[in-house]
Subunit: 130 residues, 3 copies
Amino acid sequence: MPSYTAIVTLLAVAFYFFLATRVAVARGKFNIRLPATTGHPDFERVFRVHQNTLEWMPTFLVPLWLCAIYLNDIAAAVLGLVWIGGRVLYFTGYSKGVEKRLPGFFIQSAACALLFVCALAGIVMRWSGG
Amino acid sequence: MPSYTAIVTLLAVAFYFFLATRVAVARGKFNIRLPATTGHPDFERVFRVHQNTLEWMPTFLVPLWLCAIYLNDIAAAVLGLVWIGGRVLYFTGYSKGVEKRLPGFFIQSAACALLFVCALAGIVMRWSGG
Amino acid sequence: MPSYTAIVTLLAVAFYFFLATRVAVARGKFNIRLPATTGHPDFERVFRVHQNTLEWMPTFLVPLWLCAIYLNDIAAAVLGLVWIGGRVLYFTGYSKGVEKRLPGFFIQSAACALLFVCALAGIVMRWSGG
């Protein structure tokens, strides 16, 4: 089994959990009581960082593991690290303002696109006896 | 590893990504500024299509892969294609009106139910030495 | 492949699907029309139970399976059952009131933390030739 990708996946989950704790902190700071998810723009941006990262989980994890299994463990792990880096930038940017989310967003999108292409290539190569 | 299911999973992720782009387009069309997720019913329905597809991802991907691994790759892949077809109908229907989401919704639900039963059968058969 | 963890994962997905049906029932009871997701606190709490369980899916499923594959199937399956138990308590508690969600929340958090540590230990042991 692909061990490098496994470690990078745990790191991605740990960062995703960290984002959930940021939502909890922002709830306290801006006094947004559960079960509400709106009420102050600064809270809503942090909430959206966490939600958007969740929304991208299938788009990230599926190609990541198909790339690791069908093509190459180290290639998948490196692109996984790039995705985490993009997500960190997205979080720090979006926390400051809506427009500042874009550089990190494009980095993580590019990592997912490359993982998708690598996964597809790996599966097709296996079919053609590669 | 189950290659047909791997390709179908990539297709499902690609369609899911396409839905995310529809949300972005609807944001522009109805001028719903981030981080808001409400403000116009036509936007909110497209937003819900994407969210509901995310909500069903565990219910789809887990039985899909357990079916592929423990029972049969091709059976899982075919049911996966049915799920994607149901989701396409759900998207085109729900975009027009709330009630028109139902045919696609039931098709994708039935595909998940069958995948669940197949996965369960596969695991139990392996236990009983099948 | 880890069969005990596979069965427990199906059980977790079945419970998650049950939560989705509770949201649908609460929609009818409090007359919250789609695509709205707000409008009555009793509906919103049930909606949040389902959403929060979805939000935790990556944090649960990834360590669960890495623990099952890299360390031990039965250990992963037992911790998976503890997670489901915590989620049942979280659902019954949160349905009554916001504060009553906490015991179940902490049980499922502890299960995820242990799964994370077990997964990490399993991967590191494999590297060191264990």
